[in-house]
């Protein structure tokens, strides 16, 4: 752009003229997006700055607002016992649930997409659990998996499993608790499945035709054509699933010991933030903000890593 010459009255008049023109052309557009701008400022940017500031303060919501520098972070990384547990659990959950959910929902989408009879019926059936409210499904599964009164263990007993080796599901202190959570999350697989359907429909039929003529069977067609063509969607879903899993809050409802699980087996990051900020007789907004920003940092790093290793993703209509 040509360098503006501010020298003299003419220069300033020129700039002012430009400003006036911009405003005249834009003000209708601005009026339409004004709610968004106000909303972003008040409900997103101001809180974002504030919470960044809180990280370096001790703030209890009522009396104390004291600058303490990096003390929150030092405490988080050296002293607090819960933090390693919580990070480990959350990562374990993400590594466990994201691949399983993606693969299974994709597989079901493939099946439901087939042109055989009745698949539309399955499509509706599988999506139904998604509209059931999260609270209800959490409480329902908590009851199903109750070690003593739940129907899961009754079923296992009828199959001949000895009473002493019945799994304790959500109340166990080890890996079984995570497995129970995974089983519960598989119930909502219809949601992911429906998202894949759109991507599957976008794959041009001609590619399948030529593959069939070349003699490729169903498996080969799937791996060589379908999956690469969907890679944009795979990438997007992968990213969104990871971000979502890292913030899972459902354990607050299903886990015993007020959301932590026996032996901290189900203690997840989001629950820790909630407990720090809103539970107990002292609200620790500063420390909770520090925890939240650390999570944000992890998410940002993961996003960058994912984007930079994403050359396998195929966009657009090139051949």
């Amino acid at each position: 752009m040509a360098k503006l010459n501010f020298a003299g009255k003419n220069g300033i008049k020129h700039v002012w003229g430009l400003v006036k023109k911009t405003v005249k052309d834009s003000y209708t557009g601005w009026l339409f997006v004004l709610p968004l701008v106000i909303g972003l400022l008040v409900f997103t940017f101001i809180p974002m700055f504030q919470s960044l500031m809180y990280c370096f303060y001790e703030y209890d919501g009522v009396r104390v607002f004291r600058f303490i520098g990096f003390e929150n972070f030092v405490y988080m990384f050296t002293v607090d016992r819960d933090v390693p547990v919580v990070i480990a659990n959350t990562f374990l959950w993400t590594i466990l649930s994201v691949p399983v959910n993606l693969v299974l929902s994709y597989a079901f989408a493939l099946f439901v997409n087939m042109k055989t009879k009745g698949m539309r019926f399955f499509r509706i059936l599988y999506y139904l659990p998604v509209v059931i409210p999260g609270v209800v499904s959490a409480l329902l599964w908590k009851d199903v998996f109750d070690p003593v009164y739940g129907i899961a263990n009754s079923f296992l007993m009828k199959m001949g499993v000895a009473q002493s080796s019945l799994p304790r599901w959500f109340e166990s202190e080890d890996f079984m608790a995570m497995v129970s959570l995974l089983l519960m999350s598989l119930w909502g697989i219809g949601g992911g499945m429906v998202l894949w359907l759109a991507a599957l429909k976008a794959v041009p039929e001609s590619l399948y035709e030529s593959a069939r003529l070349d003699g490729a069977n169903a498996f080969v067609r799937c791996f060589v054509i379908t999956i690469p063509m969907c890679s944009a969607m795979i990438f997007y879903n992968l990213l969104m699933s990871i971000i979502g899993s890292l913030q899972n809050f459902t354990t607050y409802i299903v886990a015993p010991n007020s959301g932590k699980g026996n032996g901290n087996s189900l203690y997840l990051y989001a629950v820790k933030i909630y407990n720090t900020a809103f539970s107990g007789y002292k609200f620790e907004y500063g420390y909770a903000s520090a925890l939240a920003w650390f999570l944000f940092l992890i998410i940002a790093v993961l996003t960058v890593i994912l984007f930079s290793t994403s050359r396998w993703v195929y966009y657009g209509e090139e051949n």
């Binding site: 752009m1 503006l4 400022l41 940017f45 101001i46 700055f49 504030q50 500031m53 703030y59 209890d60 919501g61 009522v62 009396r63 104390v64 607002f65 405490y75 002293v79 607090d80 016992r81 109750d146 003593v148 009164y149 015993p256 010991n257 026996n262 032996g263 809103f278 539970s279 107990g280 007789y281 002292k282 609200f283």
Partner: protein
């Protein structure tokens, strides 16, 4: 050019935001003036709000107290707020909202010797020492009216400024289902009974021992099994509740934290106490903690319950609602009459919120609560336990005990063994008020995860608790 404009705008906006970001704080006035003229002005007008926990028995009490209070101060309107959820947690929420929504925080709050530490430390409760001193000077209050050991339990660290005014001297008793006792021991003569009975009944008299309790349970357990109650448990023992486990620990000589801040959890004494409690679970007298199963005394299934709750409550739920005969006796003496045997005790009472705008008026309410009329009002509302006033001690002649004693209920269980009463205070030795709650919770959790499990797990949980308490003390901020 555009980019520069944007940058400039961004910087200006950020500066603006950061500057306007300091939150408003709510630091209530700690240096207040005391005006006691209001106390003698019976025509005074005003409004007060009292915050109570959402337990229905608390509602009975406060309603009765307010009714009597209005006989003396008829123009003061007293409203009740049943605080929902975790009491202390919701109070802090109230406090936070108070500066923008005034009137949310009540003027008067109910509290007790276990829960008061945290809300004293974070400033929700008002330091009442000035009010107490001025009232004593003005002759409105005479501290010798009250049981001194229990009066102290309303003070900061049990030995400092007064924050909570106790209303009763609570202690743990054993509530019983007399109908079941009479049925089970029907054919036993007095010598054959595994305990010394109250004259004319088949229920244990005050001062029975833990060994007698275990023998009794053995007989009851067999009866339950033979009579279609195989799945039911006998006793709601509340082993994870401070007054109960603390009494057992102290009786066995276990001191969880000593005066030098050493943590003494992984010790033979504590192990012995845990064994004692565990035996009850192994023999199926008490339901294993950490599950949803209970003895369900109040539903008529269990036969005994350890708690400091008021007799009136169980008289209502057992006798009036279900036609069982209710009775009570003392908490079993862990090591018998001679050995160290403690009974868990505490106080419940009322305090003032530091944000109150009606401090003097609220003080009239608190003074009334401590008066004879106030105490009797509470008693008639269901506070059937030893009141804080010494002159109302005798259950046979005073409101709190007379009604039930006339029905043959052993109210003297509430006055028995005052010298054995002990308060949970091991955490005071750490001198760090902000971890008291965490310490208590952790010990409870240790009991919840070790009782009912095998030997190895129990030892492991005790060791973990030891380690965690040390970590808490060291890392306290």
């Amino acid at each position: 050019m555009k980019r520069q404009l944007f940058k400039a705008l961004a910087i200006i906006v950020s500066a603006f935001l950061l500057v306007g970001c300091t939150p408003r704080l709510n630091n209530p006035e700690t240096n207040y003036d005391v005006n006691l003229d209001v106390v003698s002005n019976y025509e005074v007008e005003g409004t007060l709000k009292v915050g109570i926990t959402s337990i229905y028995t608390e509602r009975w009490l406060i309603d009765a107290l307010i009714e009597e209070y209005n006989q003396v101060y008829p123009n003061v309107e007293v409203k009740v707020d049943e605080v929902q959820g975790a009491y202390n947690n919701t109070l802090v929420g109230y406090w936070q909202a108070e500066q923008n929504t005034p009137g949310i925080m009540p003027d008067i709050l109910v509290s007790n010797s276990t829960d008061m530490h945290s809300i004293i430390e974070n400033g929700i409760l008002l330091d009442l020492q000035k009010y107490v001193d001025e009232s004593v000077k003005a002759g409105l209050l005479d501290l010798s009216d009250f049981h001194e050991d229990y009066w102290k339990l309303g003070q900061e660290n049990f030995n400092g400024d007064q924050y909570v005014l106790p209303r009763s001297a609570d202690r743990v008793v054993t509530h019983l289902n007399q109908t079941l006792f009479e049925t089970i021991f029907k054919d036993y003569s007095d010598d054959e009974l595994p305990f010394t009975p109250i004259e004319g009944t088949k229920v244990p008299a005050n001062g029975w021992t833990w060994q007698e309790f275990m023998d009794t349970c053995e007989v009851i357990r067999k009866w339950y099994d033979d009579n279609g109650r195989k799945e039911q448990y006998l006793v709601d023992a509340y082993f994870d509740w401070e007054p109960i486990f603390n009494a057992i620990f102290r009786s066995e000589g276990a001191e969880l934290i000593d005066k030098d801040q050493n943590v003494l959890v992984d010790t033979p004494e504590v192990k012995k106490s845990v064994e004692l409690m565990n035996e009850c679970i192994e023999k199926r007298y008490v339901a294993p903690p950490g599950t949803s199963v209970q003895g369900n005394y109040e539903g008529g299934q269990g036969i005994m319950l350890f708690n400091s709750a008021y007799a009136q409550r169980f008289y209502t739920s057992l006798t009036i609602d279900q036609q069982y005969d209710y009775n009570l006796t003392t908490f079993p003496l862990i090591n018998g009459e001679e050995g160290p045997s403690y009974i868990g005790a505490g106080v419940a009472g009322y305090a003032m919120a530091s944000t109150s705008r009606n401090k003097d008026l609220a003080w009239t309410f608190l003074l009334f609560m401590l008066s004879k009329d106030g105490q009797n009002a509470l008693a008639s509302g269901g506070m059937t336990t030893l009141p804080i006033r010494k002159d109302l001690e005798d259950p046979a002649t005073n409101v709190w005990g007379k009604n039930l004693m006339d029905k043959g209920i052993n109210m003297s269980a509430y006055t028995y063994g005052t010298e054995r009463c002990v308060i949970t205070d091991y955490y005071l030795n750490t001198g760090k008020p902000n971890i008291y709650n965490d310490l208590m919770t952790r010990v409870s959790e240790m009991l919840n995860t070790s009782l009912g499990r095998d030997e190895a797990t129990r030892s492991q949980k005790i060791a973990e608790c030891q380690e965690y308490l040390e970590y808490l003390i060291e890392s306290a901020r």
